[in-house]
């Protein structure tokens, strides 16, 4: 089984753990650099008021990507392929999972208030469009049963006429 693990800052540990403990197969670790952040950091040396040096060395983001992939490989503790990409994260993740059996990703978004909007924009997009099975992982701990809201006090009124 080909397993693709999409790593993002802040939540990648949970994805690596899930792939290691729950799945059996050939693992590829994926990290994507967001060009939006690259733009902010990659100011050329001669920019206006730039005072002759770029904001960050051009390979700062690539270095950060390498470091993250290294840390993830070490946490995984078994041989793995690495895939570093650059582009709009949700679209790159979908494109990268074209040739895989299962994609592992972490739930994005605020899950202190669970409900229809608790999935972040990127997670939502990938779940909708990924051309493979998807394993969705909680970045911290899964919620317990108490987070289910109580049922509404009155059952919804029964419709007498059902349009046909």
């Amino acid at each position: 089984m080909k397993i693709l693990v999409w790593l993002t800052e802040g939540t990648w540990e949970a994805c690596v753990d899930a792939a290691r403990d729950l799945l059996d197969g050939q693992i590829t670790l994926l990290h994507i650099i967001d060009p939006a952040i690259a733009e902010v950091l990659a100011v050329p040396p001669t920019a206006l008021l730039g005072r002759g040096k770029p904001l960050a060395a051009p390979d700062t983001l690539a270095d950060a990507q390498h470091a993250l992939l290294d840390a993830a490989a070490a946490r995984l503790g078994r041989p793995t392929a690495r895939l570093g990409r650059r582009g709009r994260p949700e679209r790159e993740a979908v494109a990268a999972s074209a040739d895989t059996d299962i994609l592992v990703l972490a739930r994005d978004g605020d899950h202190t208030s669970l409900g229809p909007r608790s999935l972040g924009h990127a997670t939502r997009f990938v779940i909708d469009h990924a051309p493979c099975q998807v394993l969705l992982v909680w970045p911290d701990r899964p919620p317990d049963l108490a987070t289910i809201p109580p049922p509404p006090p009155h059952p919804p009124a029964k419709r007498t006429h059902r349009p046909r």
Partner: protein, 430 residues
């Protein structure tokens, strides 16, 4: 009519050159010849040109001194320390890190000017966010946004403020007193919108870090605090704050030089001499003489535009009373002009017609400082990374930045104008 067209074309040419920077020439390479041209052709008479240069002199000197001061603060480790402090106070939580970054970016922008935040603080914030396992985007965007919108507080925070203070004669303390409330209001609005806009990225779990002790650069922080106090004290004493900034830079740079020659390794002349030359050269680069020349030349070219029919048009468009609708109209006009032209020519053009009314001058600054967050090309701060689009030929993820600007700029302008109006009433200034 012809002179209007010629001068406006010259101004647009100078600005276009500054953005495109063909063959990596400094922006002054087009601006200085353009300034010489308008003087030689009589569009700006000699006495008016000399008067403009005298007016801009202390302002540009102040800018250069602040740039050097920020550079020295960086070499002394002030920004590294700020990053370490941010990591510690965040406790590994992305949301708390955002709050700390907001506080630091607002303070750095206010005291050391917007480009200290963009050039010196932003890379540190990126590294800090990566270090605590947070997604860096909200925190890095916060720096670029606050570099503009948090540059309201002091005359030193933004070159636009310095130009407006020079043209209107507003005092340092009066400026700070009236702008404190709008500054706080804009930062609060930006913070709330950032929390909502980046809710996904900020909701990742906290990664508590072992607290790594970082030694505070006490001397540099003391000098910066004393310089800030000096700015406030210089006004009653009748000293231009540029001298205070220069004194701060000299103290920081002087101690650095002394310490170098005092260390055992420092007596090794063979290695020491080139190092010292390189350090002095880095100070000259930090002061950015080419950019200072650009500001002088831009002042002359804008003066030429203002003296033609275009200036009369701007004069007719500007409101004349610092009441709430007047302030709002002024700030909106300034924001639009800052996005169309750039914030520097917008300031040079809008401040002289309203220089007699402090309220309207400050409303112009609200517009030219907050407005640039709306688009890429708005201000120098955003021009800094505008050029990336030319350098790398990838499709930019500009949509997100524009959406964020479309949210923060109108809201920020509205609360800032209301806060300014309130401040003017409370302090009895019109």
């Amino acid at each position: 009519m012809v002179s209007t067209a010629v001068t406006v074309a010259l101004l647009l040419g100078v600005l276009a050159f500054a953005v495109a920077r063909p063959w990596r020439l400094p922006e002054a390479a087009a601006a200085v010849p353009a300034a010489v041209l308008v003087i030689a052709s009589g569009l700006v008479p000699w006495p008016a040109a000399v008067h403009e240069l005298m007016l801009l002199g202390p302002t540009v000197g102040f800018l250069a001194a602040i740039l050097v001061l920020a550079h020295l603060a960086d070499t002394e480790g002030v920004f590294r320390y700020a990053g370490a402090a941010a990591a510690r106070y965040s406790g590994g939580s992305p949301r708390r890190l955002l709050a700390v970054v907001f506080a630091i970016a607002a303070a750095v922008t206010a005291v050391l000017s917007l480009d200290a935040t963009i050039v010196l603080l932003t890379p540190i914030v990126f590294a800090t966010a990566a270090g605590v396992g947070a997604r860096p985007k909200p925190h890095v965007y916060a720096c670029t946004h606050l570099a503009n919108s948090a540059s309201l507080l002091l005359p030193v925070s933004n070159l636009t403020n310095l130009l407006a203070v020079a043209a209107s004669g507003l005092g340092f303390l009066t400026f700070a007193k009236l702008m404190a409330l709008p500054w706080l209001a804009v930062i609060a609005v930006e913070y709330l919108i950032f929390r909502w806009f980046f809710a996904d990225d900020l909701a990742t779990p906290a990664h508590p870090q072992p607290a790594a002790p970082v030694r505070a650069p006490r001397f540099a922080l003391t000098v910066l605090t004393a310089t800030l106090a000096g700015f406030a004290a210089s006004e009653p004493l009748g000293i231009h704050p540029a001298w205070i900034a220069l004194a701060g830079a000299l103290i920081l740079g002087g101690r650095r030089a002394l310490r170098r020659s005092g260390t055992p390794g420092g007596s090794d002349r063979v290695t020491n001499h080139p190092t010292r030359l390189r350090e002095i050269w880095s100070l000259v680069v930090a002061a950015n003489p080419a950019f200072c020349a650009f500001v002088f030349a831009l002042g002359i070219v804008v003066l030429a535009v203002s003296r033609t029919g275009f200036g009369a048009l701007v004069d007719r468009l500007t409101p004349h009373h610092a009441d709430l609708p007047g302030l709002l109209a002024m700030a909106a006009l300034a924001a639009i002009l800052a996005n169309l032209l750039n914030n520097l020519p917008a300031t040079l053009m809008l401040v002289p017609p309203v220089a007699h009314t402090p309220g309207l001058v400050l409303a112009v600054l609200l517009g030219v400082n907050i407005g640039p967050n709306l688009t890429y090309v708005g201000s120098l701060a955003t021009l800094l990374w505008r050029q990336v689009l030319h350098a790398h030929d990838h499709s930019p993820a500009t949509g997100e930045f524009l959406r964020l600007g479309a949210l923060t700029v109108p809201a920020g302008l509205a609360v800032a104008v209301a806060a300014l109006w309130l401040g003017l009433r409370v302090f009895g200034v019109s």
